[in-house]
């Protein structure tokens, strides 16, 4: 079993996402700042004088569990940290996350349970592209704030159709463009193939890659569905096409399957893997488990990926120091009673959404700024390319780039922000 304190990137992600939410609370809404005084009232469903209840659907079991099942418990740890430090305006957070097994049908029923029965104030950091697509209409028809969807699909950025939904990580098209740019600059002249999940996750990534590499130059395009774990035919087709670089928009289990299958076939391209499928700790564990110990982290050497949060190994980064501190103190006890700060003392669902649109958030732990405004619900706007060395350490390379789905790629000039004292916004 994986150690609970191994500092896996997915745990960092779980905490970082809550941290961003906390920042929102700290910055507050200028127009509602006069509401911060006074007493706590039950101002909205899910908010009482002493508690805020929020909900989430997560792949705690099923094909996406490896790598992702630890995100919610890690978020929970940070909520506990906030609770222990006074909560938000004295309110404690209850973070109720339910397992959907990465199955859209389960997501539909679990989301209704959270909204109709638990009566959560907001949905928070629900994970997965196909899963969240199943409920985004419903959540918006119920006018429930739908914050920081853990998916880079650009489907969340549709202000007129989904006014309550906000993205979180860089959308896959932006990520694909920046990875594509890296390939044209640093791996030029090599034949490129794709391996991607056959849904909006993979297809959005491919859209960004094609914009940079040119659709006609791709040697082979292979896809998979998460319900079928045999990727042999696809990898063999990539090998046959002579692709020297394989760009992989995959969830961790399928990154590991692809690497192992390729190794078995004696096929050793340069792997360029989307951020969501490249967590070293998760992949090492999966490679060992799938190969029954025959292979491991050595297959990751030379991989190219990207990051939108500081790297786990970067102990000089103050955010990582903070997150590790929270981990060590809280994760092993897995607390459940947690707090979540809202914009203003007594927010309603609609005032909360408005404040998210109008507040200029600092980057928090993210490497690039957030895109939130009244016309834009994109999350982090950019990434930094990273490489994995033969020894399994990840190093960022080059500057942080930002982009939009159709605009040009530009270098981000801003500097990284530092966490507030104790990490309490």
């Amino acid at each position: 079993m994986k150690s609970l304190m191994d500092g896996s990137a997915s745990r960092i992600r779980g905490i970082a996402i809550v941290c961003a939410a906390g920042l929102l609370a700290a910055c507050g809404n200028p127009s509602s700042s006069n509401n911060t005084s006074g007493t706590n009232t039950a101002s909205a469903p899910g908010i009482t004088a002493t508690t805020i209840t929020i909900g989430s659907t997560q792949p705690l079991t099923g094909p996406a569990a490896p790598g992702y099942s630890e995100i919610a418990p890690a978020s929970n740890a940070y909520f506990q940290y906030l609770n222990a430090h006074g909560g938000i305006f004295g309110r404690k957070i209850t973070y109720q996350y339910l397992d959907d097994g990465y199955n859209p049908t389960n997501t539909a029923s679990q989301t209704r349970k959270l909204i109709l029965e638990t009566k959560v104030f907001a949905m928070f950091s629900s994970l997965g592209t196909p899963t969240h697509l199943a409920v985004v209409d419903y959540i918006n028809s119920e006018k429930v704030p739908d914050l920081f969807v853990s998916s880079g699909c650009n489907c969340w950025n549709d202000v007129s159709k989904y006014p309550n939904t906000f993205g979180w990580q860089p959308d896959y098209t932006i990520e694909g463009k920046i990875l594509g740019q890296y390939i044209t600059q640093s791996l030029s002249g090599k034949k490129v193939g794709y391996f991607y999940q056959n849904d909006e996750f993979g297809l959005d990534g491919v859209k960004g890659l094609d914009a940079q590499l040119g659709a006609s130059s791709i040697a082979s395009r292979q896809n998979y569905v998460p319900t079928n774990t045999n990727v042999g035919p696809q990898i063999a087709a990539l090998q046959a096409s002579g692709a020297q670089v394989v760009v992989s928009f995959t969830i961790p289990a399928f990154t590991a399957l692809a690497l192992l299958t390729a190794a078995k076939l004696g096929y050793h391209p340069i792997w360029v893997v989307s951020n969501v499928g490249s967590d070293i700790t998760t992949l090492t564990g999966l490679l060992k488990a799938f190969s029954k110990g025959a292979a491991g982290g050595q297959l990751l050497g030379g991989m190219v990926t990207d990051a939108y949060l500081p790297l786990v190994g970067d102990s000089s980064n103050p955010w990582i120091t903070l997150f590790k501190g929270i981990h060590d103190q809280y994760i092993s006890t897995l607390p459940w009673d947690e707090a979540f700060k809202a914009a203003g003392r007594n927010p309603t669902r609609s005032s909360f959404v408005k404040s998210l649109e109008s507040t200029k958030l600092s980057n928090g732990p993210a490497l690039a700024p957030f895109g939130y405004s009244s016309s834009n619900h994109l999350g982090v706007l950019g990434v930094q390319v990273a490489t994995i060395g033969a020894d399994g350490t990840e190093t960022t390379t080059g500057p942080v780039y930002t982009s939009s789905d159709s605009g040009p790629i530009s270098q981000y000039g801003g500097s990284a922000s530092s966490p507030p004292a104790n990490g309490i916004p």
Binding site: M1, K2, L4, L60, T61, A65, S69, E70, A72, P73, N76, Y95, Q96, Y97, L98, D99, Y102, N103, P104, T105, N106, A108, S109, Q110, R112, K113, L116, E117, T118, T129, P130, L133, A134, V135, D137, Y138, S141, Q197, N198, D199, E200, V225, P226, T227, N228, S332, T333, L334, P335, W336
Partner: protein, 361 residues
């Protein structure tokens, strides 16, 4: 002869009348219940009604006709995709959508029924399992029609205007599902009392004997499969409305096995058993699903606990009630009657035959 005929006619009409009265009572009771409970309870009531329809159809096939199907989840998928495709670009009345879904699944049921009638035991189980595994992949393969892994979203049914603007949509859907379930159960209950129902049982018990008695075995099996598929199609269409999304992952092998679980836990061969099984199917996971985020144990345990508990409950249920919930209830009633009440015809006071298969409804 004439006297016998008229007696049979009277019996049939009495059966139909009795079933209708019972159904009407159940429908009124459930509709009243739905006005007293919250939105999420109505959502669950809908789920129970949907699974009851599918499980009743499967019970007819497996419990009464002796054909084991591990592919009913795939038949539900056909109903669900029919409904979703119909609703993709058009606004159609619910009744029409449900009827068309029943029709399409029934038609496909004829094809599979003919294949199934040639197979026995494990071969039939294997063939239907193939259906459960393979069919959802069609949706992934033809992404432009069926929406791939993300599936097709289904617009919710809006309550009619005469119910008022604040009528909860969950309650409206519960009414639709309950109505569909009641109609299905009345039709099935009557069918089971008819010559067709008796033929189903005769084929289940001994094919050779049934054939000697003049029953066309293959035709009976195909008929059972088609009726069963039609029920699955109706359930699938309701499932599409209920879930709001029709995606291949929702109709995997798990769903097929869940339906088999429902009829085994509820009671093989009885319509009431299908209802009991559906209650277990809906409420046990619902009770355990919140545990992962509320229990103070390491996440590797907490994340998997709801599934483990669900599995444990199923194992215990099979140990405690090997004949299913309905079978156990029937036996308790039989014991009660044998001990304290009037002696059932042919039975001896105080004697209960535990190995006797559950009596039919």
């Amino acid at each position: 002869m004439v006297a016998v005929h008229s007696r049979l006619d009277r019996l049939a009409s009495r059966t139909l009348g009795g079933h209708l009265l019972l159904a009407l009572g159940a429908a009124v009771l459930l509709l009243l219940l739905s006005t007293q409970i919250g939105a999420y309870d109505n959502y669950n009531l809908t789920a129970v009604a949907i699974f009851a329809v599918a499980a009743a159809g499967l019970n007819l096939l497996t419990g009464l006709n002796g054909q084991l199907s591990l592919g009913h989840g795939a038949l539900m998928a056909i109903g669900a995709y029919t409904a979703s495709l119909l609703l993709k670009d058009h606004e159609l009345p619910v009744v029409l959508v449900l009827l068309l879904s029943v029709l399409s699944t029934g038609l496909i049921g004829i094809v599979f029924g003919y294949a199934a009638a040639r197979l026995r035991g494990p071969y039939l189980a294997g063939a239907t399992l193939t259906l459960a595994v393979a069919l959802p992949q069609v949706a992934t393969r033809y992404k432009s029609i069926f929406g791939g892994e993300s599936g097709l979203t289904v617009p919710p049914t809006t309550p009619p205007a005469w119910l008022g603007p604040d009528f909860p949509p969950e309650r409206w859907l519960a009414w639709i599902a309950v109505a569909a379930a009641v109609v299905t159960f009345v039709l099935l209950a009557n069918l089971l009392r008819s010559s067709a129902g008796r033929a189903f049982r005769a084929v289940r018990d001994n094919e050779a004997a049934a054939a000697l008695a003049g029953i066309d075995v293959a035709r009976t099996q195909v008929l059972a499969f088609v009726i069963s598929a039609a029920c699955a199609g109706l359930a699938g269409a309701l499932f599409a409305y209920w879930s709001g999304v029709t995606a291949p992952a929702g109709f995997g092998v798990t769903l097929s096995l869940q339906l088999v679980t429902a009829i085994v836990i509820g009671g093989l061969g009885s319509l009431a058993g299908a209802v009991w099984g559906s209650l277990v199917l809906v409420f046990v996971p619902s009770l355990t699903s919140g545990m992962a985020s509320t229990l103070n144990v390491p996440s590797a345990i907490a994340n998997n606990l709801p599934l483990a508990i669900y599995g444990g409950i199923l194992v215990i249920a099979m140990l405690v009630a090997p004949h299913g919930i309905q079978g156990t209830l029937t036996r308790i009633l039989t014991i009660g009657r044998a001990r304290w009440g009037h002696t059932p015809a042919g039975g001896q006071k105080g004697v209960v035959d535990w190995d006797d298969p559950a009596s039919d409804p």
